[in-house]
C-alpha cells in the first residue's frame, strides 16, 4: 500500500540555523498524525514544509506517492486549517469556503453543491451569509474546517487549530474533530503543543524537540514506552515520575534502591532480569503507584512512604512524596486513607515502569 505522506531525510535551515534535522516520517491512508512538542521544536515549520509554504533545504517529500519536494502549495492537493483560522475578512462565510474552488475554476453548480454538503456536515448553514467578524471563535473554527473539508484533498493539515478556543469549547471541538476523522477516513497531519490533544486524536504521534524527532509511535507506545526522558516527561499529565535509583544485581533479579531523605531507602526488586547499569532513572507513571490495599497484581512491590501533600481532584486523589530527592506523585483512589504527614503503604507496579540512562536519557528496557 502506498504511503499518503512520506518524508525522507528532510533538513530545513534558515541561514546557518538548522530548524529541522533529518526528519523521516510516513503515514498511511486514514492515519491521524500528530506532531507534538514544546514551542520552538520545529513542528509548525515541518507542517509548513509539508504544505509547501516553506522550501525544504534538503531531503524529499511525497504526497500520495508523487514527489512534491518543490511543488507549490496549490498543486499539492492539500488543505490547511490555521491557528488564527485565517478567514478572509472581507468575504462571507460562503465565499470563504468556495474561494479555493473559484480560484481553480470549478463550475458554480459544483461549488454550490459542495458548499451545501459541507455546511450541513458542520452545521453552519445559518452562518453562510455572515462575515468572519460577526462570528464567535467556535464558529470561525468551524468555517475554517469547512474551507478545508470542501476541497476534499488527499491530506489535511492542521496548525494548532484549537489553541485559540476556550477550554470547554476546545474539548468539544476535539471530540468533534475525532468523529469527523472517523467518519471521513481522511488522512490528517495535526500540530499541537498540547499532549492531551495528541493522545486523544492521534493514530500516530511524532514527538519533537529542537528540530529532531524524539519518538514516533502510537499513543499507547508513546505513553507506555517513552523512548527517552524528554518524551517521558512531556507526554502525560501529571508527568511521569522520574526518580534517580541504583540497580543492584542479586540472585533473583535486580534490586532497585531509591534513596529517601532521613529514612531508609526503598528497595524494589525487578524480576525481569534486565541488564541495567548501576545508575538508572526509574520512570513511574502516577497511576502505577497506588494504595497497597486497593490494587495489586503479581508484579507490584509494596513500600511504606511518608505522604507530604494530598490533592483531591475529584475522581482521583494525588499524593505527593519525596523519593530519590524528587517530588513523586501517586494517583490514588479518591477514597484513599492517605493523609499529609502520615505514612501510607503504596504499591509500585514494576511491570509498567521505564528505565532510563541518566547520562544519555535513553530508554533502557
Amino acid at each position: 500500500m502506498s504511503k499518503i505522506l512520506e518524508i525522507n531525510n528532510l533538513f530545513k535551515s534558515y541561514g546557518p540555523v538548522e530548524i529541522l534535522k533529518d526528519i523521516n516520517v510516513s503515514i498511511d491512508q486514514g492515519d491521524f498524525l500528530v506532531l507534538v512538542g514544546p514551542s520552538g521544536c520545529g513542528k509548525s515549520t515541518l507542517l509548513n514544509c509539508i504544505a509547501g509554504l516553506e522550501p525544504i533545504t534538503s531531503g524529499n517529500l511525497s504526497i500520495g506517492g508523487q514527489d512534491m519536494t518543490t511543488v507549490s502549495p496549490k498543486d499539492r492537493d492539500i488543505a490547511m486549517v490555521f491557528q488564527s483560522y485565517a478567514l478572509y475578512p472581507t468575504m462571507t462565510v460562503a465565499k470563504n469556503i468556495t474561494f479555493g474552488m473559484k480560484v481553480r475554476g470549478v463550475d458554480q453548480a459544483t461549488q454550490d453543491e459542495k458548499l451545501a454538503y459541507v455546511a450541513q456536515q458542520l452545521q453552519i448553514e445559518p452562518l453562510l451569509k455572515r462575515k468572519p467578524g460577526q462570528l464567535s471563535g467556535g464558529q470561525r473554527q468551524r468555517v475554517a474546517m469547512g474551507r478545508a473539508l470542501v476541497r476534499d484533498p488527499k491530506l489535511f493539515l492542521f496548525d494548532e487549530p484549537l489553541s485559540n478556543l476556550d477550554a470547554k469549547l476546545r474539548v468539544e471541538m476535539r471530540t468533534e474533530l475525532k468523529a469527523l476523522h472517523q467518519r471521513l477516513g481522511a488522512s490528517m497531519v495535526y500540530v499541537t503543543h498540547d499532549q492531551i490533544e495528541a493522545m486523544t486524536l492521534a493514530t500516530k504521534i511524532v514527538v519533537m524537540k529542537g528540530g529532531i524527532i524524539q519518538q514516533i509511535g502510537t499513543p499507547a507506545e508513546i505513553y507506555n514506552r517513552p523512548a527517552n526522558l524528554f518524551v517521558a516527561d512531556f507526554m502525560g499529565s501529571p508527568a511521569m515520575n522520574l526518580i534517580p535509583a541504583k540497580a543492584v544485581k542479586n540472585g533473583k533479579g535486580t534490586a532497585i534502591q531509591i534513596e529517601r531523605n532521613g529514612n531508609t531507602p526503598i528497595v524494589l526488586s525487578d524480576t525481569k532480569n534486565l541488564d541495567l547499569p548501576e545508575d538508572v532513572i526509574l520512570g513511574v507513571r502516577p497511576e502505577d503507584i497506588s494504595d497497597a490495599s486497593l490494587r495489586a497484581n503479581n508484579e507490584t512491590q509494596e513500600a511504606d512512604c511518608v505522604i507530604e501533600i494530598v490533592e483531591p481532584a475529584g475522581a482521583d486523589t494525588f499524593a505527593v512524596m519525596e523519593l530519590g530527592g524528587k517530588h513523586v506523585t501517586a494517583r490514588l483512589h479518591s477514597e484513599t486513607s492517605a493523609k499529609a504527614g502520615e505514612t501510607q503503604r503504596l504499591a509500585f507496579d514494576l511491570g509498567k515502569v521505564s528505565y532510563f540512562a541518566p547520562d544519555t536519557g535513553k530508554r533502557l528496557n
Binding site: 468575504m91 474561494f99 493539515l157
Partner: protein
Amino acid sequence: MADYSMHTVQNNNPIGKIALRWGLYVMLGIFAVFYLMPFFVMLTTSLKSLDEIRTGDLISLPREVTLDAWRTAWSGACTGIQCEGMRPYFWNSMLIAIPGVAISTLLGALNGYVVSQWKFRGANIIFSLMLFGCFIPFQVVLLPMARVLGMMGIAGTIPGLIFVHVIYGLGFTTLFFRNYYVSIPSELTKAAKVDGAGFFRIFWSIFLPLSIPIIVVTVIWQFTQIWNDFLFGVSFSQAGTQPVTVALNNIVNSTTGVKEYNVDMAAAIIAALPTLLVYVVAGKYFVRGLTAGSVKG
C-alpha cells in the same frame, strides 16, 4: 488606545472650579482666533473692493461684498505676461495630482504587500533604503533630475512632473501600506496559497478589499503633498505647465500694474480649496496620514 480624558483639578470650591473652567475655554478660544484669523482675513479681503482695502482695516467685514476679485483671480489675473488667472494652472495641478496619486498609491500598495507578506532575503534592506528616500532634502536631487528629465524628453511637461512626484512619493506610500499590511497575519496569505491563489490573485481578492482605510489615508496624503508642492513645480515646469502653487506665487509677486490684494487673496483661497475640502471632508484620515508619516516603523 485608552479612551480617557483627564479631569480638571478636583476642587472642592465650586466657584474656583467654574473660574478655572472658564479660563480654560477662554484660552482655547484665543488660540482658535489665532488659527482662524489669517483665513478670515483672506476671505474678507477677497470679498472687498480695492478702495475699501486701501482704507486699511484688516479685521473689518466688507461693507459691500463683491466677487470681482474672485472672477479676476480665476480667469483674468496676470502671472507675468499671461493674464488667464488661476484656471489653467488649477487644471494643470489636477492633471499632475490625479495620475501622480493613482500611480504612487498603486505602486505603494504592491510594494507594501511584497515587503510585508512576501518577504525574501534583502526585502527589509530594500524597504529601509526606500524609507530613507523619504527624508532626503529634495534640493540634493534637483540638479540631476533637471538633466535626466531633459534627457528623457519630458522636461517642463506635465508627465515629467507626474514622474517626479511618483518617484519621490514612493517611499511614503510604501511605508503606509507596509505598516498596514504588516499587522495582517501571514496565515491569511498562506491560507490563500493553499487555496490555490497566486501573488496577484491574493492581492486583488484579499488584500485590496481590506485596504480601503489605508488607501484613503494614502490618497489624501499624496494628494495634499502633490497639490501643495512648490519646489518641484517651480523647478521642473515651464510657462503653460505650471501647477497652481507656482501660479499663485507668480500672481502675488507679479510686478506689473496695481497691486490687487483682493485678487491675491482670492487666488490663494482657490489654490487652497481642494486640500481644505479634503481636510474638512476626511479630516480623520488626513490626521492619520500625518501621524503615520511621522511615527515611523
